[in-house]
């Protein structure tokens, strides 16, 4: 026979004992309540910071050395490849050098502040413009523009979007950990994309390769 049964049988269970156990039950409820409260609080704080604060903390904002009007230049020059051309050996020239720009901008052509910065700080100082490149990929990625643009006939827009019609340069958001642009992962923090140019991660390359060639491709095609 248990002690409690014995006590009850003997009528010797006193009231104080019963109070204590009730008290204990109440205390337990309160602690669980706090636990839940803390859970909800912590959840809410972390949830909100994860969505709202984290993306702001992860990226630092940088401005380009000066504003560049792509739309105007495309109009004047007649296409992306006027400035971003293929060299004779098939390699892609990428960002134009100051020497290329000088072909037109030896001295100021218009009256914008941006062009003035370009002329005084770069052309006259014989320096290259330290453009921040939105589409810069890590060095462990080999990418041939020639294979995509010349061979496969893709247009620049498929990966670079509507940059050609932009009139200003947007703020460059640099990932504080990787040092690469936010455009690689995509503006959407979950990495969800609507357009083919919204993200430039490996999966995006693979997705297009699978669609177009029937295979995601082998590792060494891009990681040499």
């Amino acid at each position: 026979m248990s002690e409690l049964e014995e006590k009850t049988e003997n009528g010797s269970t006193d009231a104080s004992g019963q109070d204590a156990s009730r008290e204990q039950g109440k205390k337990g409820d309160a602690a669980t309540g706090y636990g839940v409260l803390f859970f909800i609080g912590a959840f809410a704080v972390c949830f909100l910071s994860g969505w709202l604060l984290f993306p702001n903390l992860l990226y630092s904002k940088k401005e380009q050395p000066f504003n560049f009007n792509h739309a105007l230049h495309v109009d004047e020059m007649g296409g992306c490849d006027a400035c971003h051309f293929f060299r004779e050996d098939g390699s892609f020239s990428g960002m134009p050098k100051t020497s290329q720009c000088i072909e037109c901008h030896e001295s100021q052509l218009g009256d914008t502040k941006d062009e003035e910065i370009f002329i005084t700080e770069y052309v006259e100082a014989e320096k290259e413009v330290p453009w921040l490149i939105y589409s810069e990929q890590p060095d462990c990625v080999f990418f041939s523009h020639a294979a995509h643009v010349i061979k496969a006939g893709m247009d620049c827009r498929s990966c670079h979007g509507d940059i050609g019609t932009s009139t200003t340069t947007k703020t460059y958001e640099e990932n504080r950990i990787t040092g690469y642009s936010r455009d690689i992962w995509g503006k959407n923090i979950w990495g969800i994309k609507k357009n083919s140019w919204d993200r430039m991660k490996m999966d995006d390359c693979a997705e297009c390769h699978e669609r177009e060639t029937g295979s995601k491709g082998a590792c060494f095609q891009c990681h040499k």
Partner: protein
Amino acid sequence: MKVDRRSFLGLGLGAAAGVAVTPATWKLMDDSSIWTQNWPWTPVPPAGEATYDNTVCSLCPGNCGIMVRKIDGRPVKIEGRSDYPVNAGGVCLHGISAIQYLYDPSRIKAPLKRENDTFVEITWDEALDMVAERLTEIRASGSADKIACVTDQTKGTIPGLFARFLKATGSNNVYAMDTMEKTWEITLEKIHGGRSSAGFDLENSDFVLSFGAGLIEGWGSPVKNFKINSSRKERGSTLVQVEPRLSNTAANADVWIAAKPGTEADLALGIAGVIIKESLFNSAFVTASGKGFQELAAVLGKNYSPEAVAQTTGVKAAKIIEIARDFARSSAPIAIAGRGRGMSAGSVREFSAVHLLNCIVGNINTKGGVWTLAAQDYEKWPAVEMDDLATAAFEQAPLDSAGSMAGLFTNAGKEKNIEALLIHQANPCFALGDAGSVTEAVKKIPFVVSFSSVMDETTQEADVILPGHMLLERLEDRPSGAGVAQRVTGLSRPVIEPLFNTKNPGDTLLELARKMEGTIGASFPWESYEECLEAVTGDLWAELSDQGYAAETATPPGGGVKVDFSFIVKSQAPVEMEGEAKDFPLVLVPVDNVRISAGSLISSPFAIKTVSDNVLKGKDLLVEINPETARANKLSHGDLAVIETPKGKATVRVNLFEGIMPGVVAMAKGLGHVLDNNKYVGGKGVNINELMGPIVDPVSGLDAAWGIRARLSRA
């Protein structure tokens, strides 16, 4: 409110759950993986436009045509030039690392002068004034003949300008580092008469008998010979290698003959004796062109019978006879001398004994044989203007009548003192035998001027440094030599703006001459070295500058050749080693390693990285000995040991190798540099020249040392 364990649990779980349903964790995982694959501190070469510039590698006498790949004007890679006659697209590991030489931490970045024990930077004007004033003073005191100049070689317009400068000041003391080329020239002159350089048509030979020539260790023109050797099998050509150790060339050869070191000449004479005795020689050629053949045949018959030679060399008599027959019965046999890379002189006795084999089979100036190439004659210099001082001083005998550097530095500090020494692309304090004494001698020279690009051992002793451009920054003509059977002149040209405040030594000399005024200035009428090169190369310039080289067709020189066999009979005394066998029971021999540069050039950090752990481990040099030698000296593999010779001692480690003769110790050449700032190469290993002295060859006056007696004991 009481915060207890459950609250914390709630907090933790809440935080975890909260984070889990945000993108933070997943995004951070992705970002950190990207970060770890692209450490921000790892340098990434910038991308840019790729261009190629043609030039000629001047790191060794090979003179290969190279292509420099540049990204936005920055050299990033060296490749062989496939349309170049010497190397046909190939390049060696020193050539591919030529870019490292540009950024070498020992590079001299501006003119320097010595102040007590340090160097201080000065302007070019100050430096040139100092040198001009000092040389003018020496001339005025009637000691113009005590100005000496040491260069790496004699061919080409830059050595030409140095010789001209010395002549205009009144000195005929121009010395070049000893190589096998010089010994071959002397040998050919003694046997055939007239000055010519040796060309070896190995490509067309079907039987190569090599007396220690390291055909794949960088002998002669290295890449050319690598290529010739790799096509050997398909050409059906045989290689017989005579060498006391199983070098790479010996391992690659069809037959390896381990003759005792220093007995190569005896072996060659023994083989010649068999060929003559068995009438396998080319009697038509010998009768038509030879002099003193009967006398020679008698001496060989008497003193060099296969049995006697077997005694001297340790090679079995039957083997000697077999090699002799195979050699003589081949259609285009060739015998070559010049140990290792051929960057040391060697003895005339040995070279002429080897060349005797070519002479008796009549393989001189024929396809697959040895060619007597006339010296390159494209340089057209105007006469040197000399004032009375210069004319009088130039009449004086040179400081060393044999033209040997060993002699020059033995005399330095003695009565025939050198008053001033000009050094260009040579490093005698490292590369000459008994380097320690050479350094002491150089220290005693009152005025030393270095034109070097790097702070090497000799430049450290200079009073004034007029730093030169490095390869890839400098313009220079590079005439072929190094035993190539074709006359090719290459143009080494700048592919990059000079990185530092240096000058082309040609320009430095022109400016120096102008500062010295008078007839000296007048002897150098060109505005710049480029103008001088263009003027001096004359008709060749258009081709040189257009194509980057000018090549003659590779055909044997015409005209008959005479053979004086009596010279071979006369030069019979073998070159003995220094030291007594009772004190020094072992023989130390230097070994050329294809990965370590020889002569005055210092290896690049890349080249040193590729050296095997059995040659250089950390900072320790390993000497190679046979396990039998190790047992006799109570040593095992990897042990620290002290090697002692009559010239000095050093601490080394031991590498056991079955492929070396018992009693012989082999040590790699080209290590043990003492270099300011260059921790990649400096302080690694031991310089064998600290342990070996020069032995002056009785015929040539050049250093003929091939080994030294030594002892080895546990450290």
